[in-house]
Amino acid sequence: MDARTLDLTFAALADPTRRAILARLIEGEASVAELAEPFAMSQPAVSKHLKVLEKAGLISRGRDAQKRPCRIEGAALAEATGWLERYRRVWDANFNRLDDLLAELQAPPTAGDSRN
């Protein structure tokens, strides 16, 4: 992750309201009104938070001019919090084992293996 994205991500995640918004969006997309409800916060106030999250690439907004539902960008959030790294580590371990197995399958027979 480049330095600028990292800075934007830290700023986005530093706020507990924004973290709560992200936790809600993990469960599914939501409108601004739905997101504002649990905080007894005005929609403009929520929109300010959403702008910060959107700038950091952690959420995206739908195009429907009326609704613009918010959705989480799971890959970006997972990468930021290290979860994509964990997902990747599982596959990394699998493929490292596969490398070893493939090498073993291609190794020439050692003396003493052949039977006549």
């Binding site: 830290f10 960008e73 799971g74 890959a75 994509l84 990747r88 596969l98 197995l101």
Partner: protein
């Protein structure tokens, strides 16, 4: 000898995750490692500590495969069932699969393409989830519990970053 091209994982479009890796072996051998149970259970094991006591594969179109992994002496288990939609040794495997636990709200379609290259095989594995939410769930699964831990880790990195 230089290592094979490294693993890359990326989100693709709204519903897919693409995994790329290359291997120092011909496509036939890599294909067999994906379809022969005795070979599969040597490597498709996930995080450390898991073994694969059940691995059956019927490698035909319409055939099914069944994997069961276990950890902690059988205390924890995970199961997966898949059905082959297309097979073309050595270059293509397409299946739909679903974990018993159904973490991803529906089956995923997995396409594995193997291409022969000068020093072995290039693999592109595409996992297409049933919906955007399913993919996001798969990428961040378990994150609710780990979200705070993840944020604390970020705080720690930020502190070093500012220092």
């Amino acid at each position: 000898m230089p290592p094979p091209a490294p693993l890359t994982i990326s989100a693709d479009g709204d519903t897919s995750v693409v995994i790329r890796r290359s291997f120092r072996a011909p496509p036939e051998l890599v294909y067999d490692c994906w379809t022969v149970p005795a070979l599969l259970r040597r490597w498709l094991l996930g995080p450390p500590g898991w073994s694969m006591p059940v691995c059956t594969v019927d490698a035909r179109i319409g055939g099914t495969y069944r994997y069961e992994w276990t950890r902690d002496g059988g205390e924890k288990t995970m199961g997966l069932t898949g059905t082959f939609v297309a097979l073309d040794r050595p270059s293509l495997l397409v299946s739909t699969e679903l974990f018993d636990e159904d973490w991803t709200g529906g089956p995923a379609e997995v396409t594995i393409r193997l291409s022969r290259v000068s020093d072995g095989t290039d693999m592109v594995q595409t996992v297409r989830y049933s919906s955007r939410e399913a993919r996001e769930g798969a990428l961040v699964s378990g994150m609710d519990a780990g979200l705070e831990a993840g944020f604390q880790r970020l705080d720690a990195i930020a502190a070093e970053h500012d220092a």
